[in-house]
Amino acid sequence: MTRKTFLISLLVTLSFFAVVNIAVGRWSSRLPMRIKLDAVARNSDANVLILGNSLLDGHIDPPAFQKAAGELSEQLLPVDAALGASQTPEQYLLFHEGIKQRQVRAIVIGFYDFQLTQPVPTNVSDLIGNRALAFDPRIEAGDAESIYHFDFGSRVRYRLFRSLPMLAYRGNAWKSVELLRRKLGNVGMPEVATNELGRVSDFDALETKPSQFQIEAQQFADNPVRLNEPIERILQEGKERHCAVVFVLMPISPYHQATYYSLDSWKRYRGAIQVLAAQRRAGFIDASQWYSDPSDFADKLHLQRGTRSAFSVRLARAIVPEIQSSNGENATASSEAAQRQ
């Protein structure tokens, strides 16, 4: 290979990577997690921050919620910061963005199963799909590095990924390839059941075996020390800002209730969570049995989107007393602090 050939090849390679980076960056500007960050930044009048995963993402109807709260003499406007396929560290990052923009009165955290307590060990390579939220330039790098506990090597990788869209948003390309693969794989095959999130059968993978579920619930219930770190941080930082924090055990399908939530170990686990929430002056709403008709659910975990208005009304009515109670406690705490000074 001559020197000239080498230099031309190098130039072509560098140009190629530059073009792909710019193209992937532009192509990824409308990813769900970026749209979510836009929504969190845009609705500056909102004073209730809704956090959670796909069980809550898109299931809030702000006008219905606002009207129902208004009937109970509370001016509450929610912003849906719940993000599908997110874990609690990403929910913490969204929380951080949410409280930056506005004066928040309440933080609502929707969860199911062990999301409040399971540790979420994360490598940089795990941050794909909506978890790539951490690479968005609006998220402070220090916040992400801290919540994921990245060591030095991971921090270097994280900064590299963050600066190169073709690495940060590679999941976007993989998603398109996967959709193409499924399309080709389905040719001549029976129709596969899908909903607005994808293949219904994919959500079976999110449910553990009942025996494993029982062990996990039992282990936590035997020694319920604390919630997982991102949730504890949300509680602490929320309280510092005098926000009410309310946990909502999300509505879940009759199948999931019968298979998992009827177990004694789950009842003990749920009781332990309620105690931990009370110790931290957080509210707890068990909405898991609000819907008992399987047709209200899109799969074993998610409510149908058609229930969003009715769900929002019911949620607002359940949350208002929790917020009023918490605001009363905050006022008492502030008054006691003022008297001590």
Binding site: S9, T13, I128, G171, E178, R181, D202
Partner: protein, 57 residues
Amino acid sequence: MEILKTLEYLGGERDDAPEGLPPFLQSLAVRCVLWIACLLLIYGFCGQASKFVYIDF
């Protein structure tokens, strides 16, 4: 053997084009295009090895 030599040439392992190789394949531009196509395919398909569940499109 000719196929192997051709692939080695296109891959940059040998400098001399095998006999009978069409002239357009000896052009640097065409070889760049081939490499770019390979890189794009690898970039697009390497996610198949991940455990990521493709939901929330």
